[in-house]
Symmetry: C2
Subunit: 450 residues, 2 copies
């Protein structure tokens, strides 16, 4: 059955079927990632039955790990504590953390108590790493070899790994202190005579990341060096885990969403499937900030009310100056924010980028200003009005470009998220400056304008 034909209705019919074995079999044919988003529309009883059926064939854990994060709290609510603990016990540590993070704190304690002691300890250790760190994104499950082992011994170690999906791909060579020495490609192992020492087949591994570093940095390293897995080391330089490329893809998608969202003043957890109530709660505070800045900018207009009173047609052009300036600023902000996210820019190249954007803003502001000025002149038959519009647009666009480049770089150098709040701050500046420059120049030239 093609995966796109698997709808919520199909799933509901399957769950309504009394024949457990048939239902188990059909469910086992469906990939966990196809099932996960369908849970949004199931009732509590249906969710429980689904988890029970999947659990028999060891598929419940994978399915829950594939749930969109915004669905997790609601779905977990419908599953009994013991069943959650059973499922957690079958997950890799990174997915375990992901699920536990979506439990309310009192329930989290109860569920953790129900875990087998060794896994409870693993989980508590993992929770010590900072949020969004490499330590939280890693799995602690990898094959460590020693230089003096033979190729045959290494192959035996792979065999012992057993059932793990990724096992056998990432073979690391460490010294007695568990410090990372290098990596051995599995192809080299099978091609070499069985008694060859692993040390001779190893390539020195230069790229690794500290467990305390941000997971975004890990993703940049994997993307940059085309790795299938990135070794993670603790502060004593001992290798403690690996971040696998499939998790890196999730991090990259997550961070891209964060960037796009922050530019629009949205909270990360406000997704397409988030309930309207939650979306409203997340967006209202930003909307109030936005309203506050909009009124502050509007007060600039209020300050020049007497100028407007004498020449009311000025009001027509206020939104043009502010809108076009804001647009130019957002373009610059987007280019710089994205280049920071992709790790393309450092402080030194950042200064050059500010210079470039300033120049681009000046040129585009001049061209747009000349055109807008001409249109205003022809429309209102007033050449001085055209001149006022030209000057205001040049000033606004140039400053907008400067700020669009400088704000994210400053936020970044302060250790803040470069996109968070930048859009709101920028729009406020361009609005206020647009109104101030246009009405201010108009007031200075008022006698020529009338």
């Amino acid at each position: 059955m093609p995966e796109q034909d698997i709808t919520t209705d199909f799933l509901k019919r399957l769950l309504a079927n009394d024949d457990d074995q048939l239902a188990e079999e059909r469910l086992a044919e469906i990939h966990p990632s196809t099932l996960a988003p369908l849970l949004a529309d199931l009732g509590a009883a249906e969710i429980q039955r689904l988890i029970d059926l999947l659990f028999v064939r060891h598929r419940a854990a994978a399915m829950l790990a594939h749930l969109p994060p915004e669905l997790m709290p609601q779905i977990l609510e419908d599953i009994p504590d013991q069943r959650i603990a059973d499922v957690l016990a079958r997950l890799e540590i990174d997915d375990m953390l992901l699920l536990v993070e979506h439990l309310p704190s009192n329930r989290r304690e109860i569920v953790e108590e129900l875990l087998p002691p060794s896994q409870r300890r693993d989980l508590m250790r993992a929770e010590l790493y900072p949020p969004d760190s490499a330590g939280r994104a890693m799995v602690t499950h990898f094959i460590a070899l020693h230089q003096e082992m033979t190729a045959q011994e290494a192959i035996d170690a792979i065999r012992l790994e057993g059932d793990s999906d990724d096992g056998g791909l990432h073979l690391y060579v460490v010294d007695e202190g568990r410090r990372l020495l290098g990596v051995v490609h599995v192809r080299k192992l099978v091609s070499a005579p069985p008694e060859t020492p692993v040390g001779g087949l190893m390539v020195p591994e230069l790229v690794s990341i500290s467990s305390e570093a941000d997971q975004e940095e890990a993703a940049q390293l994997v993307a940059r060096y085309d790795l299938l897995a990135l070794p993670v080391t603790d502060p004593d330089d001992r290798m403690v885990g690996i971040i696998t490329v499939d998790d890196v893809i999730d991090v990259i998608n997550e961070e891209a969403t964060e960037d796009i969202y922050h530019l629009a003043g949205l909270s990360d957890s406000d997704r397409v499937y988030t309930s309207a109530r939650v979306s409203i709660n997340k967006r209202l505070p930003w909307m109030l900030v936005n309203l506050g800045t909009a009124f502050t900018a509007a007060s600039v207009v209020g300050f020049y009310e007497s100028t407007l009173d004498q020449l009311v047609s000025l009001a027509i052009f206020l939104p043009v100056v502010a809108g076009v300036g804001g647009n130019g600023g957002i373009q610059t902000l987007t280019v710089i924010t994205r280049s920071i996210a992709l790790g393309e820019i450092e402080f030194s190249s950042g200064l050059r980028a500010v210079g470039k954007e300033l120049w681009v803003g000046l040129v585009i502001g001049s061209v747009a200003g000349i055109l807008a000025g001409l249109v205003a002149y022809l429309w209102q038959g007033n050449p001085i009005l055209g001149l006022v519009l030209l000057l205001a647009m040049m000033i606004t666009m140039t400053v907008a470009s400067l700020l669009g480049a400088a704000i994210p770089l400053m936020l970044k150098s302060l250790g803040q998220d470069p996109a968070l709040g930048a859009g709101v701050l920028l729009t406020f500046c361009t609005d206020a400056l647009g109104f101030f420059s246009f009405l201010g120049i108009a007031t200075l030239l008022l006698e020529h304008l009338l």
Copy 2:
């Protein structure tokens, strides 16, 4: 030497050194992806020398494949035709295509003539796939096994693969017609007795993609099913290549940039290192479109000039209505565009999402409207003015949310990029509607306002 200490200055000093062997050795220690962005600041002679030095140690191809796309045309200009052909001959087909695409068409022909015949043929075949298709992103280099081969024969096949970096990880089982049957994990091969037939070790492979499909779809499949490589099939269902996960990461980053850029009305090739001249050329057309829509929206204000003339303080609130409405619309647009990019939304769930966003817009518009109305009333001492602002903001926000959800879904169902132009169109609608609703209602209630 830590990679972050490798600056353009260091590279320039290294290239100025006459000792070729020393320079070659030092360069060989630096990862190609670290070198690539530094080329932006080198002169033509330096670039030629660098390529020559790298070429000796087979590193020039990897370095050029890691160049940021916006630097490629400029760097390739400085390298002689024959050297480019030599470098191309050492690249996988996907990277070969990437480089060739950045050559001007007349030069492209000359360079292709210089390639060895078999590679020229490969390149011409790859160029038949549509731009941004899975066929263009794939490598044709993978290990195909047959069911009746033994595990030992399969291991011998891996050994024959020789030098390729990825070789040996992706083992596919095909029938006589080269149709994909399944995949064998290398761990299974080494663990099994040497005479076991491959057919018994194979897992049926259900996920593959057509060579004509969009590369973004390929990236979604790899992300969804946690694959290390995705098989690509031709229209006759024969396996013709694989897309590897490192290329998928590039595609994901590229597509995320495209989304963020299109929301801001930016062209993909307008990057932080793009020259100011190119950036200006790319942004000017959008700026003119923006200017056109801004003037059109402003003409709505012009239409109500006599109302403004009678109550000039209305002008203060115009940007508030338009700005807050535009902001709300962009938030909805961002949520929906991102969910389309991540493959989270289909047409049926799309309609539900429109309904949700409409409701969110109405609630937030009402809250923001009540607050804004109160502020306007207290500021101007005019309760009717507050009412006008409340009504205008409710209408604008609700319609803005509806459009923010509907525009990308409509563009998507028409086969267009959901983000391209959506921001400009939306801002125009919210501006025009904001002005029209606010001034229209004010005109209707004018006698109570004065």
